[in-house]
Symmetry: C2
DNA sequence: TCCTAACTGGAACTTGAATTCCGATTCCGG
DNA sequence: CCGGAATCGGAATTCAAGTTCCAGTTAGGA
């Protein structure tokens, strides 16, 4: 057999059925976490996917690994909101777009909410550090612009703002329409016309 | 031995050491939940109290029972905030007092926060239903007065407001000073001077 | 088609935390 | 001061996940 050389990082292509199952598992897990939250059991996910637990573990060595894969995808949605927001010139409008969009993203998916909730440093299980740093940096720019323009409360800094976003997270999690939650937060953030 | 008659509901007075231990357990549990959250282990609580797990279980048949006892006490703090608020005549001031006070209560104690978070109906483990009904009713009066006076956003109803309070819960849980969190929420709730 | 490496399913094992059990110890009325 | 009922402590048990293992089943190259 001509041993096929593989550079270390390179992945041997999966067998057709394996790839199919991997997708199934991922889809099932996505759905399961989205509606039941992070404590669905692996068995349940396997059942949803129509495979055995062993198969789930073949593709993801650990429940955490599976979760992290999904969280990375979900958080990409949240992060894409910053990029969009930064494309707006007007500082307040940018912030507004960001908040509204984030609220909407959070509203529909329990998985995203739970992931977002443990994004802040200090959470017992801080996830996704490298990419999150980028996120923080961009949000900081958003805030800096707003501060500079004098439209955002002085006393709201980056950690404070992120905590407030966690607040919105909880709020929409409890069933408030994202639009309303965003309205309230935005009005609360805007510098009062004294 | 003259069998002492006890009406069914009546409690035989605990032996001196038993009462002492009960208090210790309660105090230890209060402290443990307040700082480490709901998933401290029973062993840890027992150790803090300087007793064995068996003793903890003698006084509280179940972890949930112990938690519920504390939650009832904690939520009493939250609830007392409504009473205080209702003593203010001016509708907006009443709301303000309520929000600020609640934020402060939540800020200092993780146990209260976790309890508050699962107060809303729909949480998997809805606790404390009977007293909670009273709480909802009083808060509803607070809102009604504010609505009547035209100082509170029309589109914030009771469930929405409670969800926003859950938002404040999460916000202070992530380290924002309660005063700031309350400021932002209050400014967001006030009807915009259009 | 045949062969074999790769993959599958689910029973069995491991883990960690809640709960039970029971011999030892401690209160307290007589 | 005594007896025994009430209480204590913590080892042992139970229970609910997560994770491992391996006999059986494919996919797909020769």
């Amino acid at each position: 057999m001509a041993e096929q050389t593989l550079t270390p990082g390179e992945e041997r292509p999966l067998r057709a059925d394996a790839r199919r199952n991997r997708e199934r598992v991922l889809a099932a897990a996505r759905a399961a976490f989205a509606q039941e939250g992070e404590d669905v059991q692996m068995e349940a996910i396997a059942k949803r996917a129509g495979v055995g637990v062993g198969t789930v573990y073949r593709h993801f060595p650990t429940k955490k690994a599976l979760l992290d894969t999904l969280r990375r995808q979900w958080l990409a949605d949240v992060v894409s909101g910053v990029a969009l927001a930064l494309s707006y010139i007007e500082p307040w409008e940018a912030l507004e777009v960001f908040v509204r969009r984030t609220a909407e993203t959070l509203a529909g998916n329990r998985g995203v909410r739970e992931a977002f909730g443990r994004l802040q440093p200090g959470a017992q299980e801080a996830i996704w550090s490298p990419e999150f740093e980028g996120y923080r940096r961009e949000v900081a720019r958003l805030l800096a612009r707003a501060h500079e323009a004098g439209v955002l409360r002085e006393d709201v800094d980056l950690p404070g703002f992120l905590a407030l976003m966690c607040g919105i997270n909880a709020t929409v999690g409890h069933g408030v329409e994202p639009g309303l939650a965003a309205d309230v937060l935005l009005q609360g953030l805007r510098v009062s016309a004294s």
